[in-house]
């Protein structure tokens, strides 16, 4: 008995996917092509004069030591955000999965932060950690920690990582929770009868079975750290102090939107696009091999 739906019509399937394709073209491909086109041009802010300059925008970027430094900052930032985002949400999901009473309330509360806009998340954390009036700063001072991210680069990095991770934990949590619920109870119970301790059960049974989810989240979180975090940065450090939190996507935003330098900003976004494509391909080629479906 064939259970799949089979379309006999020649055009119907295309008509059904057409809206999706149209949206993808208008909102993803068209802007991407435009970014590539602008990246070869030198324009004034109002687009009154534009000239084709070939690879000059790219050459200018790679000559700039600060831009190259920004790659290192971005790499550090992305690794921290992806690692902590995944690790903390996995921990929370395993805890929430074992809660018997009020599980729904825990889950709802943990999912809430996802509804918060990145800029709002940034402001929230910036207030908590504000150098002179922040509550956390006050507590840290009591412990003898001199907290001042306005001038200390590593603390500024810490702040934007915390804000970005907090924002993303809910999303990761949802996927992990769903993943955990599909792990067969019988396997865990069998292991328990064999005398395996809870950590042992987790690392040898649950974690490998969760690997497709973890892999998916790794890709999504890296993309999130690369593209979606400029709101957090803009609301808190604005790339400073110095260039300590000036990640690639924030520089794209600053140069393009705030400073109206379209050519330079487009060139940066093209570079960023290639990095993320390369990273995603690499993840599928090398990391996915370790995934057990």
């Amino acid at each position: 008995m064939e259970k799949r739906v089979v379309f006999r019509s020649a055009w119907l399937p295309y008509a059904l996917v057409a809206p999706q394709i149209a949206i993808t073209i208008v909102f993803f491909f068209w802007p991407a092509v435009q970014a590539v086109w602008y990246s070869f041009q030198l324009q004034d802010a109002f687009g009154l004069r534009s000239q084709f300059v070939g690879l000059q925008n790219f050459a200018a970027l790679f000559k700039d030591g600060n831009y190259l430094e920004s790659f290192r900052t971005t790499a550090l930032f992305s690794v921290l955000v992806a690692f902590f985002g995944i690790a903390i949400s996995l921990l929370l999901a395993t805890m929430a999965d074992r809660v018997l009473r009020g599980a729904m309330a825990y889950k709802t509360l943990l999912i809430w932060p996802y509804a918060v806009a990145p800029a709002v998340a940034g402001v929230l954390w910036a207030f908590l950690f504000a150098p002179s009036i922040g509550i956390v700063t006050y507590v840290l001072k009591g412990w003898g920690v001199d907290w001042n991210w306005i001038i200390k680069g590593d603390q500024a990095m810490g702040l934007v990582v915390i804000a970005s991770v907090w924002k993303q934990i809910s999303y990761n949590f949802l996927f992990f929770l769903a993943g955990l619920q599909s792990v067969p109870r019988s396997l865990i119970e069998a292991a328990a009868i064999d005398g395996a301790s809870p950590p042992r059960r987790f690392w040898t049974i649950v974690f490998p079975l969760l690997s497709p989810t973890t892999f998916f989240l790794l890709v999504v979180n890296i993309v999130y750290a690369f593209f979606d975090t400029f709101g957090v940065i803009d609301a808190t450090t604005q790339g400073g102090p110095g260039q300590a939190t000036n990640i690639l996507v924030y520089k794209v935003y600053h140069d393009g939107v705030k400073a109206a330098d379209l050519g330079g900003s487009s060139a940066q976004s093209v570079i960023l696009m290639f990095i993320v494509i390369a990273l995603t391909v690499a993840q599928f080629r090398f990391v996915e091999r370790k995934v057990q479906y």
Binding site: D44, A45, S132, I151, K152, G239, A259, A260, D261
Partner: protein, 436 residues
């Protein structure tokens, strides 16, 4: 019969709605939020109530860079407002956009509205006037940077609260006493680049850039790594190390540090007064910014910040007539005095300044007058009439990044300022190439 009635109804409808249709709308995009936005709407309402032909419609479009970006995007899409409020650092970008803007002088001349550039404060108009003396944009809200002290903290440290430090030497001496008296934060600043590079240069009559700070052409270069600049930033860096100077951030974060009483001395915009008056639970005074007394000719005059109103291109002639009428309305002394006394921005015409003085407003609020006095301390020179650097939004960010590198101890003042000049010049060259 019915047709006749209908025709009559149509005719009368046409007759009565005629004047309403003829009212020309003038769109004005601005960045004045909160109380300032209310004051701005008040100006528009007054203009609209005073005549029937034109209607000015102000729209708040977010922060300065946001409204500018919105207007640029609208212009590229073939629409956009008639009037756009642009902050001072966007001036060179607007000026270079010939075709996207119409000079105020031209609009006023075409509409035959009375307009005399000499009626305006020279430091204010200089900023927005081209080499040939044409005023390009209308100076709307102009501020400058002032030096504030917490008199209570001065008293506590055994200092004379009525003698605010005049020179940087005196600032350091006072700072040491304040620190010794247990003051946590001694001196802080808002807008570090605007205060310690841009206004610092004008106040000491040294160039910020070649070619008259960029007024003389797009082939300008930054000159902020002179020995005097290095000396000043090194001094701040030393103060920072000794705990006499607390870095607060790139924008107006210093304001709250002073108004909360945390810091005893502070340099910030004239616009900071409203917040200090509201939140400050202490006696304070507003003063001229300090200078280095070993520099010949200092102090010169300070330069403005704030924004001007640009008239965008591609609109209908009758709309420009309305724009001209509105600009003439904004220039009247009564309106200028209302705006000046209500918001704390400096008056832009000499007549409005005189009128405010005669009204006795400055007896109650000496700080308001001090700003005008500081701006007109001496006749502006090529170094002190303002600055005009292409894409200074990026340029200022570079300066601020390098200053942060000094205050965080990552770089020496000389190296940081050299790098600021090098990186800043690359931005200027890029702008020059794009606007040739």
């Amino acid at each position: 019969m019915r047709i006749k009635l209908l025709a009559a109804a149509l005719a009368s409808a046409g007759l009565f709605s005629g004047p309403a249709y003829a009212q020309v709308e003038i769109q004005w995009w601005h960045s004045m939020g909160g109380a300032l936005g209310e004051a701005l709407n008040g100006l528009a309402n007054k203009f609209n109530a005073g005549q029937k032909d034109y209607k000015v419609v102000p729209t708040f479009k977010g922060s300065y860079p946001e409204s500018m970006t919105a207007a640029i995007a609208a212009f590229r899409a073939g629409s956009g407002p008639h009037l756009l409020q642009v902050f001072e650092v966007g001036t060179a970008t607007m000026m270079a956009a010939k075709g996207a803007i119409v000079p105020v002088a031209t609009v006023m001349a075409n509409a035959k509205e009375p307009f005399d550039p000499k009626a305006y404060l020279p430091t204010v108009t200089g900023y927005y006037t081209d080499q040939k003396g044409n005023m390009l944009s209308f100076p709307f809200n102009s501020s400058t940077v002032m030096f504030y002290i917490n008199k209570d903290a001065f008293k506590k440290a055994g200092l004379d609260p009525n003698k605010a430090p005049k020179t940087w030497k005196e600032v350091v001496a006072a700072a040491e006493k304040l620190k010794a008296a247990g003051q946590q934060c001694v001196y802080t600043t808002s807008w570090p680049s605007w205060m310690h590079i841009e206004n610092f240069s004008a106040w000491h009559n040294v160039p910020i850039g070649t070619k008259e700070n960029g007024f003389g052409g797009l082939d300008t270069q930054f000159a902020i790594n002179s020995p005097l600049h290095v000396k000043h930033i090194s001094m701040l860096s030393d103060m920072s190390k000794k705990g006499l100077f607390t870095y607060a951030g790139r924008t107006n974060q210093g304001d709250a540090k002073f108004s909360s009483g945390e810091c005893a001395m502070f340099s910030g915009s004239t616009g900071a007064q409203a917040g200090i008056r509201k939140a400050g639970k202490f006696e304070w005074s507003i003063n001229f910014i300090p200078y280095h007394d070993d520099v010949k000719g200092a102090p010169q005059n300070s330069i403005i910040g704030g924004a001007s109103v640009w008239i965008m291109g591609g609109k209908k002639p009758e709309e420009y007539k309305g724009v001209a009428r509105f600009m003439a309305f904004l220039s009247t002394s009564e309106i200028q005095m209302e705006w000046h006394t209500g918001t704390g921005y400096v008056p832009i015409t000499l007549a409005a300044y005189e009128m405010t003085r005669k009204s006795g407003f400055y007896d109650k609020d000496p700080g308001a007058e001090l700003a005008v006095k500081q701006l007109t301390n001496k006749a502006p020179t090529a170094n002190s009439k303002g600055l005009r650097f292409g894409n200074f939004v990026q340029g200022r960010t570079v300066i601020e990044e390098e200053l942060e590198n000094v205050f965080s101890g990552k770089k020496e003042a000389k190296a940081a300022l050299d790098d600021a000049v090098k990186r800043g010049n690359e931005i200027l060259r890029q702008f020059e190439a794009a606007n040739k």
